[in-house]
Symmetry: C2
Subunit: 366 residues, 2 copies
């Protein structure tokens, strides 16, 4: 097990990455939260609960009250939030209650947001079960839900008191989900961790074969990278923006496909390929680096093909919430292991990058 | 004009109380927020906008985008919040946007909550127009909405960047609203400000006659009291709890009457009368003090009569969110100008206090 410390101005907590964590949660949470309160809630999905519910309950003397969120982005809504809040009131929840978000990114985002606003904020624990949620959404305190107009437009910054990333749960992921999740680690390597890039290049077989030690290494490195950035820039005023590598067009792709055709990591992967194009054209990466980086992305593919128009993607990217006062921010790789944020990517340049990416996405190399 | 500084660990801002503030808002906000962003929103009610919209707009070069919340507790819901959030997206709102909550307590609570969760938090300004919202809900950073199960069960702590309490707007309040609001000042005097109690005893004619100087004095003193408490205890861990004098049974009355029969200040006034009973029985106030305090409440009456059962109120008070782990906290006056929080008020004692209060509420003295 590896322990990664998150320390921002507003919160300090540990992320634990390793195997066997699910079965020993209760004493681990008690060590952090003190004696467990009268009401402990676990928000989960029916599928995760069917697979892992028994292991989850093993260490609790009194079983937490289970609340269920149906799967899919379409349930990541204020309506779901209201339903969960009401169930918590009905079950006697109060300000001392603790909520455990046990599932993928959607469960984590919704569970975090519910915890942020239930009686103006209660403590919560993240127990992410997908690759993506383990490396990405459980660190940083971002919580929230979607509006019909776009993703994550509503939410709070609310940090968990602890995160337990159990790599054993990755054993039940589909291949596609695992591969999509690994794109977050590819991203982590690109923006801050050359060694991780090399490890992922050299150990693809072990990683994709779900070797627990290899997974722990990739996940811990990815979390450590993100924690390092968040520790220095909690509210995304500057540095934290680099975590959005691949997100400008990634979000646009998700929006244009109504969040149905692609997994988040797949959309971000395509977005990164577009970013490589702009970075290469601007000279922040060499041609060899661009090729090597794109190869790593495809090593963890295949990525789904796309049938979209470049202009449409550029238009969709205009509603991105990272745009403050109309400025279009864009994250560019600088060599391998660094990145920078620029504000001067014109629509035409973005459209050229989108066109390059879409050409790749038709005759997919993988 | 008086300026009251709020300084908590998470926020520092000023509350301005005086006359003529509405007409000069834009330059005042610019002085605090810097150049106004591309999108400024004003959340208000149709009635307030009809009365004060023109004055509000007078100082803005570019008029803010007006969003409307229909009047009444029944619109203080997550559904209203969602509708406002979606209108803000449709109008091009982004993370740099500023929202001005211009209206009574409901507009302030909803506007604050919308600002807390729109794109994970934007800046907002409170411009409260009712007595109650000027002295109470615009200081402290509490924001939120109701659930069908109870009031303010969902929300955030999110501080405004400034509060402008213009006493001129009190000129359009109904007598009943003004009197109910003044109960908050009575409460402020009871728990921390003997001088305010005396001023309210001596100057009832000027205050109820809406003399602007008298109102400014009462409002500034009430805000100063609350700011002093909140400055020392932002998250209601201890001291801030004393602000809830009268709220245990006050909330129960509101719940039992479905938030329809009484104004908040009226319910709190009845709750304070019950608290005086317990305080007198326990000896934290003398008989003479209890009489003097109850007289002051009735001086700013009349309070509506109540037809409720004591046992029902006690049951309703059980779902109060101030109860952590089942402990029933209760705020007791200690002499005039001080208060304390106790945790040992048994249901029987609460029921006796409720019965005393209900007896008063049938043969209302006023």
């Amino acid at each position: 097990m590896q322990t990664i410390r998150v320390a921002t101005p507003s919160a300090k907590y540990d992320v634990f990455a390793g195997s066997g964590l699910i079965r020993t949660l209760a004493p681990r949470i008690q060590r952090i939260a003190g004696r467990l309160p009268r009401r402990v809630f676990v928000l989960t999905s029916p599928a995760i609960w069917a697979l892992w519910g028994e292991a989850f309950l093993a260490s609790f003397a009194e079983p937490p009250i289970a609340l269920f969120l149906p799967p899919g982005e379409k349930h990541k809504t204020l309506r779901s939030v209201e339903s969960i809040l009401r169930q918590m009131i009905a079950a006697g929840g109060d300000r001392g209650s603790v909520l455990i978000a046990f599932g993928g990114g959607i469960v984590g985002d919704v569970g975090g947001f519910v915890s942020a606003i239930f009686m103006r904020g209660i403590r919560y624990v993240q127990v992410p079960t997908t690759f993506l949620s383990q490396v990405d959404s459980s660190v940083g305190g971002k919580t929230g839900v979607n509006l019909p107009e776009g993703k994550n437009l509503v939410g709070s910054f609310h940090h968990p008191i602890a995160v337990f990333a159990d790599v054993e749960t990755l054993g039940t992921l589909s291949d596609r989900e695992l591969r999509a999740g690994l794109m977050e680690s590819v991203k982590a390597g690109f923006i801050r961790d050359r060694a991780l890039v090399r490890f992922m290049e050299d150990s693809a077989d072990a990683i994709l074969g779900r070797d627990l030690k290899a997974l722990e290494k990739v996940i811990a490195a990815s979390i450590r990278m993100k924690a390092g950035v968040v520790n220095r820039d909690e509210r995304e005023s500057g540095l934290r923006m680099i975590l959005n590598l691949g997100h400008t067009l990634g979000h646009a792709i998700e929006q244009a496909t109504r969040y149905k055709a692609l997994l988040h990591g797949e959309a971000v992967a395509w977005g990164m390929i577009a970013a490589l194009y702009i970075a290469h054209r601007r000279g922040t990466i060499t041609s060899a680096q661009a090729q090597r980086m794109e190869s790593l992305i495809h090593q963890y593919g295949p990525l789904p093909q796309l049938k979209l128009r470049a202009a449409k993607l550029v238009a969709a990217s205009g509603s991105d919430k990272k745009n403050i006062g109309g400025v279009r921010r864009f994250v560019l790789p600088v060599g391998i292991g660094d990145a920078t944020v620029v504000e001067d990517v014109a629509p035409a340049e973005l459209e050229a990058a989108a066109a390059f990416m879409l050409a790749r996405a038709k005759g997919n190399r993988a």
